[in-house]
């Protein structure tokens, strides 16, 4: 029997989860608008949020990775990131307020214009997927490791110094995981909300993964069906619906419906489809700067989101661009593509050195 006090705390925590998800979505919008303004780009509405998502995690990596490698206490990263977010928000909310209003109004208008059965079905399948993911009690060794990593970070005020799985102190930083700051971001949310990692990961981060996945499907639909919103929504619906039948433990669907809160879930359902989206944009036009910048941001933030992307993202980008080059015979495709995969090349070099025995000892 749940007491009234416990029920009150439960409701408060659920409300906090919802607030955190809304806050993150707002940040993606703000960062998207910011990057658009700084680089003088002209994205479509949904592309602003999508790019903002990747830019947000890309910037977080720039802030967090040096602190992880220098083994600074976790509370310093929390303070630094909160300070940065506050500053970035104040500047962007003032400097880009018109663009933000325009974006918010445009999104509302888009929803209104797309009203109908297709929108309803799309919203229903997204809602059901969020519920379905939150309700599953999948517990594997990876779950234990990743959730344990976030919990341990908050509990010990250190980053990757203790083994996330068993809780013992390590002798060196495990760069197989420590090169990606994804879980440290979750730890900051846990610390700020004073909540257990499993609640934040399952209900907030998992939901964000599903929402961004849906946004990418919608964006791809928009490109494939000539901006027809209803067809794009239909594509979104089928793209999500088909997941429910693609049931083996290895599939992208498994990582969407059971493990969306894991970094691997983001690699399978956000990073890879986003690179496909950028490729579809480039198929339409290789001249538009926006398309190249999008590809760059997607690949740049692939490792910050998931170490699984370290090899997959550049290989996929290389294959997509090589195919395009074979059709167009335009060397600029390969040259620009090269710059898109440079960040992952650097990560790969560091990781390769790590596998060869070059380790950072824990002090």
């Amino acid at each position: 029997m749940v007491s009234t006090d416990e029920r009150g705390i439960l409701m408060l925590e659920l409300a906090l989860c919802l607030l955190m998800a809304l806050f993150l979505l707002a940040e993606f919008m703000i960062f998207g608008v910011g990057i658009q303004k700084i680089f003088r780009l002209d994205f479509r509405k949904y592309e602003v949020i999508l790019t903002g998502f990747f830019v947000y995690f890309g910037i977080f990596q720039i802030v967090a990775l040096p602190m992880i490698l220098l083994q600074r206490p976790f509370h310093e990263l929390t303070a630094l990131w909160v300070g940065f977010i506050l500053l970035a928000n104040i500047i962007l909310l003032f400097w880009a307020r018109r663009e933000l209003w325009k974006l918010a109004a445009g999104i509302c208008r888009g929803f209104w214009q797309a009203k109908g059965i297709a929108l309803l079905c799309a919203l229903l399948i997204i809602g059901f997927t969020c519920y379905f993911h939150s309700a599953q009690q999948y517990l594997g060794w990876d779950t234990s490791y990743y959730i344990g990593t976030v919990n341990t970070t908050v509990y010990t005020d250190s980053m990757y110094v203790f083994d996330g799985a068993d809780g013992t102190a390590g002798k060196f930083l495990n760069l197989r995981y420590a090169l990606s700051s994804f879980y440290m971001h979750s730890a900051i949310l846990c610390r700020l909300a004073s909540m257990n990692a499993i609640i934040v990961q399952k209900y907030v981060i998992g939901t964000i993964c599903i929402l961004v996945h849906a946004l990418i499907l919608f964006s791809i639909g928009k490109r494939l069906f000539g901006r027809e919103s209803k067809k794009a929504l239909s594509f979104l619906f089928w793209g999500m619906f088909l997941n429910y039948g693609f049931n083996t433990i290895y599939t992208t669907s498994s990582f969407l419906l059971l493990r969306a809160y894991e970094a691997k879930g983001f690699c399978a359902n956000v990073v890879i489809p986003a690179i496909f989206y950028a490729a579809i944009c480039l198929w339409e036009s290789q001249q538009k700067r926006e398309h190249w910048w999008m590809l760059f941001f997607f690949v740049f933030a692939s490792v910050p989101l998931s170490m699984s992307s370290i090899f997959i993202a550049p290989v996929l980008t290389a294959i997509l661009l090589a195919a395009e080059w074979l059709i167009r015979r335009d060397w600029r495709i390969l040259w620009r593509g090269f710059w898109c995969v440079v960040p992952n090349g650097l990560y790969l070099a560091v990781y390769f050195l790590y596998t060869q025995g070059y380790r950072i000892a824990v002090h």
Binding site: L10, L139, D166, N196, F225, Y244, G245, F246, F352
Partner: protein, 266 residues
């Protein structure tokens, strides 16, 4: 996932009993046949480059040397199986005028995607979390027992596998007495020839996960080596006297589990 380094086997493992691969190939063929000239070229080149660069036995071995073969399946995520199928379905459904035609397409899709018993949606999966952590209530109760009883800030606990998986997701102050790799690779009733550096862990696994009682001396050494403060095992194994003899007394019981503490008592 297959570790044979065979691409066909890997794809079979990835797809399981679903028929998404044939569906994907059909959709790719449809896209190729109905697409414009450039789209056809793209499908062709992407397929050729994909096979040459990644989806072949040599690449599996090369990638396996860099990371490991067991994670190679992640490259299959880059095959846009669902995107291609969703594209063809959307085109088919939005292109049809009559409702009965749409219904037929819908029926075929449902049959193909869900009709082979591979759906995620089952009676068990349509549920609500039993608590806010969505962890087994018994595991939470076990961790609470340890938290209330512990003298050490970070007690070392040898858990049965199920409780171990949930324990640190709930309480990060707990340290596992049995290492992750030991449970993954040596969770069996076999001897210790293959256990290597995980021998102590395996002795603990034998006791807490299988209820083995004939390894008193080995277990005593393992408990000491791994500095175990608490033991969690199934009550049904009847280990009270056995653990008492090793200096671990019953602290409390919860559901099917019993918690024993070093030098403790009820």
């Amino acid at each position: 996932m297959s570790q044979t380094g065979d691409i066909i086997q890997t794809i079979q493992d990835y797809m399981g009993e679903t028929i998404y691969l044939p569906m994907f190939l059909c959709c790719l063929l449809i896209c190729y046949c109905t697409g414009k000239k450039d789209s056809r070229k793209r499908i062709l080149w992407l397929s050729v480059l994909g096979i040459l660069a990644i989806f072949n036995n040599v690449s599996i071995r090369v990638i396996g040397k860099f990371t490991d073969t067991i994670t190679y399946y992640r490259f299959l995520w880059a095959v846009p199986v669902l995107l291609a199928i969703a594209y063809v379905i959307t085109k088919a459904i939005t292109g049809l005028r009559k409702i009965w035609e749409k219904a037929v397409v819908l029926g075929v899709v449902l049959l193909l995607s869900w009709g082979f018993g591979s759906s995620f949606v089952t009676e068990e999966s349509l549920r609500f979390p039993e608590n806010k952590y969505n962890l087994p209530a018994e595991a939470i109760a076990v961790c609470d027992i340890i938290a209330q009883d512990k003298d050490e800030e970070r007690p070392v606990v040898a858990f049965d596998m199920g409780t171990q998986l949930a324990s640190r997701a709930y309480d990060p102050s707990i340290v596992w007495g049995i290492r992750r790799k030991a449970y993954i690779e040596h969770n069996d009733m076999e001897g210790y020839e293959e256990a290597g550096k995980y021998k102590a862990d395996k002795v603990l696994i034998h006791a807490v996960n299988y209820g083995v009682q004939g390894e008193g001396e080995l277990l005593k050494k393992a408990l000491s080596k791994r500095k175990v403060d608490y033991i969690v095992t199934f009550t049904g194994y009847g280990m009270d006297a056995y653990f008492e003899g090793l200096g671990y007394s019953l602290v409390d019981r919860c559901g099917e589990k019993s918690v024993y503490g070093k030098g403790k008592g009820l």
